[in-house]
Amino acid sequence: MKILVCISNVPDTTTKVKFKEDNTLLDDSGIQWIINPWDELALTRALELKEDAGNSVNEVCVINVGGSLTEATLRKALAIGADKAIRIDACPSDAYHVAGQIAEYLKENVYDLIFSGIESSDYNGSSVGAMLAEFMNYSGISSVTNVNLDDDIVVSRAIPGGKQMIKTETPFVAIVQKGIAKEPRIPSMRGIMMARKKPLEVIPAAELPVLTQTVKFELPQAKGTCKMIDPEHVEQLVELLKNEAKVL
């Protein structure tokens, strides 16, 4: 069985984002790039499934649609333990375009299980995983909190206020969220050395339309000052919530 993990390359979550060219472009100076947190957890789960000998997973491949800048992130995924990495050389600005590129690759290269994250922490598009499933005409399971490949393939997913277990067949796309792995893995020294020898294949982009584009950014206005309430007189807060904020 082969697993493909979609990796989105995003600024570290604590980065202070800045823009340039009249707020039309992200200013990437000084940004530390990381594997999107969800994808890092998905990769961790994929590696756990591979190590569990009963599961007969023989390959974990990571894929990214992006420019050469993202290779450092892919190398990190290799250092964590992926067997190989693919970079499709295109600018990842539109979800339809990105999912379409990955689908083109999948048509030529069969994978049984495809992981994607619920959303990228940069543009918060939350659509690539389900679009990919649709392009391939695969089942897609969203809000996935666990995947088990024991006798049957059983996927747990979160539903509002509860949990659901689904039996499924391959191939399918698992769109993962919290729970899929406990802690993301950190590359070991040995992993980093080995990653240098692992394949990182760059393939050209397919001709596909770009349907959306971010034309401008805007920083939110600073919030007004916080009104302080005396802890001895919390009834004032109740009053303010009722009559000023009008949220009760």
Partner: protein
Amino acid sequence: MSVVAFAKNWNGKFKNSSYELVSYTKELANQMQTNLVIVSIGKITEEELNKLSQYGADRIISVNDARMNVLTSRVYAEVIAQIAKKESAELVVMTDNNSGKAIAPRVAVKLKAGMVAAVQELPVSIKPFVVKKQMFSGKTFGYVQINSAIRVLTLAKNCFGLVENPVECNIDISHPEVNTGLFKIQIISEEEQKNKVILTDADCVVSAGRGMRSPDNWRPVEELAEVLGAATACSRPVSDEGWRSHEEHVGQTGKVIAPNLYIAAGISGAIQHVAGISRSKCIVAINTDPEAPIFSVADYGIIGDVMDVLPRLTEAFRKSKS
């Protein structure tokens, strides 16, 4: 031409988010000078459908098919895309909840439509079609232009609000053809906690962090939530430690919520936490540390010990109710 909106029901009942979707798309259809078509899927009564007309739904297509009572994103996407084509939709909209997140991208692929998730307002312009949304987990806004002839949007919850706009309503019953192979997902078990306020739907949320110091100290949090009819939530370390269930974790790597009122008790307000709550209408923070970053995003703050302040608050809310 038309705007097609998919109004999801839960076991045959709509929620506020369905009414908000209708309010939003009605206004949008007016702006675009076109008709609004509401799609409902699964078994539902005419009476329930009629509730949507209160918010401007003058035409509803009801796909009243019992096979579709269980939501399968592939099936729903197929049905919605078929209707969108038939109605020459320029725009398809649904709510940005779990099912919307799963269905909308599929509809977008079927219609070759550019998609933007979790928009918060009406478009800033129709020609070209530009919408505003939060990006970088709430750290900025971005304006996204959609260049395709058909577009797909999901609407973030609790941003637009409900707008009453009573109209006469026509209900068409439709039976689209769907390939039976698409129904094949097999649910083997389901657990649902009954009688619990669902966090992602809640108008009011009481949340607590490491400042509670021990899982044994949660009673005051639950009592306040009870008085307010609120859902309970927590920060990530609290759920990581197993003090509270993972269900309650909010933030960038947990749930993203937008209640009217969010009360943060003993939560420092780390950027990843704020990413999950910044769309709340009103934030109240309780913390012993006046320098805690949570106060820079809160509307109201109380400097004090949670174990002392929470019971006082519960008492004050209880009094104001009676």
